[in-house]
């Protein structure tokens, strides 16, 4: 009897403890069930993958997305107060804007085409996500990630505060940031890019190009004019400039305390101006180049690996000058520095 009682008590104890543990097992089962949803997008559509460790506004992630059909050669203006901006050209005549964890989006049509009635000028603005009113204010976009897909023929104008800007495959770009790097790729018909605290990088692009930065470096390679007379200008105050395979016939390159490096060949009849205050000017050119060198180097020095045909040499202290030619002397190359060194090396 006692044995039976003991067994009954043990069984009831076990049942009781199992009952007590049941809610916990239910919770753990719930946790196990939370899995990322797998989104299968229809063919031809982009899948946006939610990134981990994102900053969350008001306890949850917010996304804003809007699109509008536009003309193929649309002008797009936007300003960004903060966030990483990425603009990509695509084959559709449509603008699609996406902002993660940031402002709302407003696509404001400024002008329409008389022929097609499609928008030819669109302003992309933002507004406070907590503001429930109608979107009327013309504020800058802000967010963790700001992405725009625009037609390949679009002209893009961007003004930014602190923005990492990446623009790819559009017709023309004009971007001005207070801070942040600018990276431009495959821009067909011209670039104007300026940042005051960051680097500027351009590749595979064409047209008239003006690149400026105050405290940053400039890198440009595989760049060509799209029309005769297109000028390539770069300016930095305390950064370095590196140029490779620049096909423009007119170059104006200036750096205050940074160095300039030019790699490539000079085009016949071209005009190349390189100017620094106390930075080095380094030209890496083919041995069989054809150019006329006009070098001015106040306190600096001049050095050439390639044999020069010296026409004039003036070694007055503080204002040294050298005029020389390489080959037929087809291109004009002006090199001016106050206390930097000028070096010509074989490519």
């Amino acid at each position: 009897m006692t044995f039976r009682n003991t067994i009954t008590r043990k069984i009831s104890l076990t049942v009781f403890s199992l009952l007590c543990l049941a809610p916990f097992s239910f919770i753990s089962a719930q946790i196990v069930e939370i899995k990322p949803k797998v989104v299968v997008a229809p063919a031809g559509q982009t899948v946006r993958v939610k990134r981990k460790n994102k900053k969350v506004v008001g306890g949850r992630e917010t996304f804003a997305e809007k699109s509008i059909a536009v003309d193929a050669k649309v002008n797009i203006s936007l300003c960004v107060s903060e966030g990483n901006l990425k603009i990509t050209g695509w084959e559709r005549n449509e603008i699609r804007a996406f902002v993660a964890n940031g402002s709302k989006i407003n696509l404001k049509v400024q002008q329409k085409s008389r022929q097609t009635n499609n928008p030819v000028w669109v302003m992309v603005t933002g507004s406070d996500p907590t503001d429930e009113k109608e979107l009327s204010s013309e504020e800058c976009l802000s967010g963790e990630e700001i992405e725009l897909d625009v037609p390949r023929g679009a002209i893009v104008n961007v003004k930014g505060r602190t923005t990492e800007t990446k623009i790819e495959s559009v017709r023309k770009v004009d971007v001005k940031n207070i801070g942040g790097d600018i990276s431009l790729n495959n821009i067909e018909q011209g670039i104007k890019a300026a940042t005051y605290e960051g680097d500027v990088m351009v590749e595979n692009s064409g047209g008239a190009i003006t690149l400026e930065t105050a405290n940053g470096n400039i890198v440009a390679f595989d760049v060509a004019p799209s029309e005769i007379g297109d000028i390539f200008k770069t300016k930095t105050t305390s950064g370095a400039i590196t140029l490779e395979r620049i096909e423009h016939r007119q170059l104006e390159i200036g750096s205050n305390s940074g160095s300039i490096k030019f790699v490539g060949a000079f085009n016949g009849g071209g005009q190349y101006d390189f100017r620094t205050q106390n930075g080095t000017i380094l030209l890496l050119i083919p041995e069989k180049s054809s150019c006329k060198i006009n070098a001015l180097y106040g306190f600096g020095k001049f050095n050439s690996e390639i044999k020069l045909n010296i026409l004039t040499e003036n070694n007055i202290s503080r204002s040294q000058r050298l005029i020389a030619s390489i080959g037929g002397g087809d291109a004009n190359v002006n090199l001016t520095t106050y206390s930097g060194a000028i070096q010509i090396k074989k490519q």
Binding site: I178, S257, F299, Y338
Partner: protein, 301 residues
């Protein structure tokens, strides 16, 4: 490389702009020729940039820095040593105070007597004072500009013929006085609109010479840009970029100064002239980068 290399202390002092201009020049020349020192300089620059970026937040906080405290203490000291202090001390002496009060009473009584005897003069004095107040306003605004190139307009500031006739009957003949005032306002606005830059310390230091063609226009541009930049330099530039800006500006100013001397010594030195022009252009680029940043920041507000 002919000179011996410099130690990191000297290189750092060079970077911080603490050396005399002659020594700076020597080191700059040496660094351009010596790879070892160039590497040292680059390292020092990197370290400075790193330190500045690390301390940037500290610099930007509103906690008063040692420099600020020094400035405050200096200005308190200056306040203490003001012009009026010795006068007050002098007047506190009893004999001086008695003498001064006697003179004051005498002046007041003479004034009262003269006012009673000549009533119309009172009106004239009052109105004259009004116009006297008006003229300095115009001339004060002009004095800044007149120093540079508004001198031709200065004589028109004094319309002495009409003045007396109008001032006596100002209350009755407001219409006659208004044109005078209007002409003064016009002169004032002309002076303001003429894009002649206000003289700045930089512009004063560097004056145009006849030897370099176009130098004056460079100087004008530099003066106007300097004014714009100085207004908002502190708000626009972060600590590290301010450091880089001031360093570059000092180097460029030094180059301009030396090249100007060179041109003055030998006005036929075309190379020196070209380097001088290039240095001016570099300075303009440097200043305009800050001015453009200013503009962009204002447009984004």
């Amino acid at each position: 490389m002919t000179d011996k290399c410099y130690d990191i202390g000297t290189i750092q002092a060079f970077l911080d702009g603490e050396l005399a201009s002659e020594q700076t020049e020597v080191i700059a020349r040496h660094v351009s020729a010596c790879d070892g020192c160039a590497v040292l300089l680059a390292e020092a620059e990197e370290e400075s940039a790193f330190a500045f970026s690390a301390l940037e937040q500290e610099f930007n906080t509103l906690v008063p820095t040692q420099r600020l405290w020094t400035k405050i203490n200096d200005s308190i000291e200056r306040e203490k040593k003001s012009f009026w202090k010795p006068i007050f001390v002098f007047l506190r002496q009893p004999s001086t105070a008695a003498f001064a009060s006697l003179i004051f009473v005498a002046v007041v009584s003479i004034t009262l007597l003269s006012l009673k005897s000549d009533e119309p003069a009172k009106i004239a004095t009052r109105n004259d004072a009004k116009i006297q107040n008006l003229i300095p306003v115009a001339s004060t605004n002009l004095t800044k500009n007149a120093a540079i190139s508004v001198a031709p307009s200065a004589p028109s500031l004094n319309p002495p013929v009409k003045r007396e006739a109008n001032f006596v009957n100002y209350n009755q003949n407001k219409e006659e006085v208004r044109p005078v005032k209007a002409s003064l306002v016009q002169i004032e606005s002309k002076a303001r609109n003429s894009k002649t830059p206000v003289a700045t310390p930089d512009a004063e230091r560097i004056t145009a010479s006849d030897n370099v063609a176009g130098e004056e226009s460079y100087l004008k541009t530099i003066a106007s840009l300097t004014e714009t930049v100085n207004e908002r330099k502190d708000q626009t530039l972060t600590a590290s970029s301010r450091f880089a800006f001031e360093r570059d500006l000092a180097v460029t100013n030094d180059a301009i100064k030396k090249m100007k001397k060179e041109v003055q010594k030998n006005p036929n030195n075309e190379a020196a002239k070209q380097i001088l022009r290039a240095s001016y252009q570099n300075k303009i680029d440097l200043l305009s980068s800050v001015a453009d940043k200013n503009e962009l920041m204002a447009s984004l507000k």
